[in-house]
Symmetry: C2
Subunit: 151 residues, 2 copies
């Protein structure tokens, strides 16, 4: 249904939209504002940053670091700079990941088992999920979020 | 990266999670509660119901109805019954969709151009997006949402 090249393009489109969403917050709200006791944008960004780039790199290299549990909110400028670094990592390591295949069973960070395919899908599901919560935060702040269909 | 059978299983897993999310609301909040001026759960459910089942069926049959713009909130029991009907439609028409291929260019409901593949991906992106907003509503109501990783 979808090949590796199509998937990368689709995934990077989503990452562009997530970057726009992170950038839409006022800097002070990025580390403080939330709804229903959830994490502020800077805390969610920290989780997403610990996943995207590092996981793609580890699939290509088979070297895994420790899963970073720290969710202290990042400042917006730091989050955006790290986002761009993650995007570059993904472009760099995607061919290596593809060469090793999507059917391999890997327990990522020594904790979560699954195929490379299932981990990649989960990674993006999780990004869409948290980004949509950030859309709700933006609406609650009276800010129009970026258009969902523009990638 | 992913074949048609894997995608159906992944998609139906997401639909099960969305159903649990819709079911987690108290019936009265389903049609009334929202955050930041967005639609209540019953209005979002109406949009998702107009997409999933009907679009898969139309890809298989090449017969398209009119896009339903009505977002009057559905009652929770009606939304859940229609959800199950949509799930059955998807199971029924998926093989017909697959037989016709994912590369066809189709302007769905006479309004939105794209390949079958891109429409299918968008359909699920949109479901994850609105479901995550419903997670925020549940949190704001003090209700624990279903576990995101359980499908």
């Amino acid at each position: 249904m979808i090949n590796a090249e199509q998937y990368l393009s689709y995934y990077q489109g989503h990452r562009r939209l997530t970057r726009k969403t992170l950038a839409a917050f006022p800097a002070d709200k990025f580390t403080t504002f939330s709804v229903g006791g959830m994490r502020p944008a800077g805390g969610m960004a920290k989780e997403l940053l610990a996943m995207g780039g590092p996981i793609i790199k580890s699939f290509a290299t088979d070297v895994w670091g420790t899963w970073d549990e720290d969710r202290t909110p990042l400042a917006q400028a730091d989050a955006l700079a790290q986002w761009d670094a993650g995007t570059a990592l993904i472009e760099q390591y995607w061919p290596g990941l593809v060469a090793k295949g999507f059917d391999r069973e890997i327990t990522i960070f020594g904790q979560w088992p699954g195929t490379v395919r299932s981990h990649l899908l989960y990674l993006l599901d999780n990004e869409i999920h948290h980004r949509a919560q950030l859309y709700t935060y933006l609406r609650a702040l009276g800010i129009e979020p970026p258009a969902f269909w523009e990638r």
